[in-house]
């Protein structure tokens, strides 16, 4: 595997990059902070990544830089075959309701910019006969829910986009994997009370990697969230209106 990861310095992205490195695959890292990326690159090299782990600056807030970042990754990996996006923004519903400007940033990063990034990556993968595009969406996008209205909406749009891609391009060799984590205990959710079935980054990464290897279009992690979301999807609106989640 020759994988490019956007968001590998923290949380689930870090855990996933380490598991990929441990099996001796090649990696290239994209992110906002070059110094931080370099530190993660050295970490992944010690953990077994093949050769030198390259890095380049790429910020979801700045889609104009995507082409350059993907070019750098393509050069370093001699054509990547897997693109993984774990980056994204998060804030609680309360915080977003109180801060319209951050809401705009979050909606832009999680939806518009992520999709623009995927479009650029997908074109490159298709041009070389296919590959795997892995994007971390969220169970928050499964249904409109009170605690995650805005964040959930951005992820709902993203999930819909990924499903469409998968339908259209799988026959041409592009496998799209949409990972939908439930609540995972990472620095992103630090300070929030963990609900039942809260997961660990390492477990989510293991499930995601298995799905990447098999090209599974949609995967929930931890797996119990597939069941939880099934129940939530089946709930009538009048029930959803009354419950707190």
């Amino acid at each position: 595997m020759k994988a490019l990861i956007l968001g590998a310095t923290k949380g689930i992205g870090r855990a996933l990059a380490r598991q990929i490195a441990a099996r001796g695959d090649s990696l290239f890292l994209l992110g906002r902070d070059l110094e931080d990326l370099e530190r993660s690159a050295r970490d992944l090299e010690v953990r077994g990544a093949k050769g030198t782990v390259g890095v380049a600056r790429c910020d979801l807030a700045d889609p104009a830089g995507f082409v350059k970042a993907l070019d750098a990754a393509d050069r370093a990996l001699a054509s990547f075959d897997t693109v993984i996006v774990t980056a994204g923004l998060f804030a609680t519903q309360d915080k977003l309701e109180a801060d319209a400007s951050f809401t705009a940033s979050l909606l832009h990063a999680n939806f518009t910019a992520t999709i623009l990034f995927c479009e650029e990556a997908r074109k490159r993968l298709l041009a070389r006969g296919g590959g795997t595009l892995v994007v971390f969406s969220s169970v928050a996008g499964e249904r409109g829910r009170k605690p995650v209205i805005l964040y959930g909406a951005s992820k709902a749009g993203l999930s819909a986009y990924l499903e469409g891609l998968d339908h259209k391009f799988r026959a041409q060799g592009l496998k799209t994997v949409c990972v939908k984590p439930g609540f995972v205990k990472t620095s992103m959710t630090e300070g929030l009370p963990p609900p039942p079935f809260a997961g660990e980054a390492d477990d989510v990464a293991r499930i995601a990697l298995h799905a990447i290897d098999r090209g599974t279009p949609v995967v929930y992690a931890p797996r119990i969230w597939a069941l939880v979301m099934q129940v939530i999807r089946l709930m009538p609106r009048f029930v959803m209106r009354r419950v707190g989640f």
């Binding site: 441990a22 970490d43 010690v46 953990r47 990472t186 620095s187």
Partner: protein, 428 residues
Amino acid sequence: MPGRELRSEDLRELTRDVPISRGLGRSYGDASLPPPSRPIAANTTLANRFLSFDPETLTVRAEAGLSLVGLHAVLLPRGYFVKVSPGTQFVTLGGAVAADIHGKNHHVAGCFGAHVKSVTLRVADGRIVTCSRESESDLFRATIGGMGLTGHILEVEFGMQRVSSPWILQESEQIPNIDAFLEALDAAARDWPCTMGWIDCLARGRSMGRGILIRGRWATAAEAAGRPFPKPRLRPTVPFEMPELVLSWPTVRLFNEGLYRQHIPRVRRGVVHPHAFWYPLDEIKDWNLLYGRRGLTQYQCVIPRAAGSRGVRAFLEVLTARGGASFLAVIKDCGAEGLGLLSFPMPGTSIALDIAIRDDTQALVDALNGRVLAEGGRVYLAKDNFTRAEHFRLMEPRLAEWQRIRRAWDPDLKLRSAQSVRVLGDPA
């Protein structure tokens, strides 16, 4: 943890304005707890990246939150192990430096600090400083064993060792009493890199201090031939807090008797799993729940060599006179004192006890400390929860110099812990 614990991958950001950092929270007392007036601590465990590994010089540099579990998961399969390991691998590098941990090989390898090349700290005024034997050496000596009070430990550079196989050749021997135990430890230290023993603290009179001596070394490739890389072992879990009855005098009496008697023949030898040898405590998850609601504390002291077996016997007598205060003790001979100014070990006999918390625990620790003071020994802060400031001051002639260096870097004592308030008299 009482108060709030902040977690982030970014230690530099995280440690900007907190009184203390903490790792995996395995120090038994209040060492990693924040002072009562500022109940907030930086948890370092997400800052766990390797920054470099040089197989030529066997040197690792890593962020302070990397644990020995994480380190060995990557490097033991390639044949590398830390030079000094404590009895649990759930310790971060930051914690290993702060407590200047020691292990079964102290008599030959010294403490973890002996193998640390440099430490990068966020000191009290916010600056990031790297210290070593050559540069800012006072800060370095005060940081090794300094319980995280000289600065937030951000990065650690340290030496590893190459091991001949990932397996351990272990010998264990049944020892009838304390005098025989001290002699056997002494004899074993001459030929073995790793030695320690378990003592039955309920045995009194002629069999006081009886137990099992363990000596070991890395198995050679030939001895380990045919064995695959040791798999992580299944860890049984203690599911909930047990009633205090579970670890009461009669049950433990029976357990200790069994442990001692089943050791047949008197000397056993064989190749064992490295976890069974290094990390017996990690074999049962949440074992502390065995101690019930009120939990346990640990107590570890060193009785100087000069006090001889008489000093050790006198200590054990204080303990066994209170039958059942502690059930098992770990005994180990310590080698030379390290460079850390507050580092615990000194040449002598170290005794570590698990003590179930009861109404009289403070009185017990006071009595044990009285004995340790009389012999010129000292206690291990990483395990301490009850030592009084006046006792600690008397035990530590090095304290004044340590405080001088600490105050030079932190005149307002911004870095404090619940323990430093209790034992060093810092403002709450």
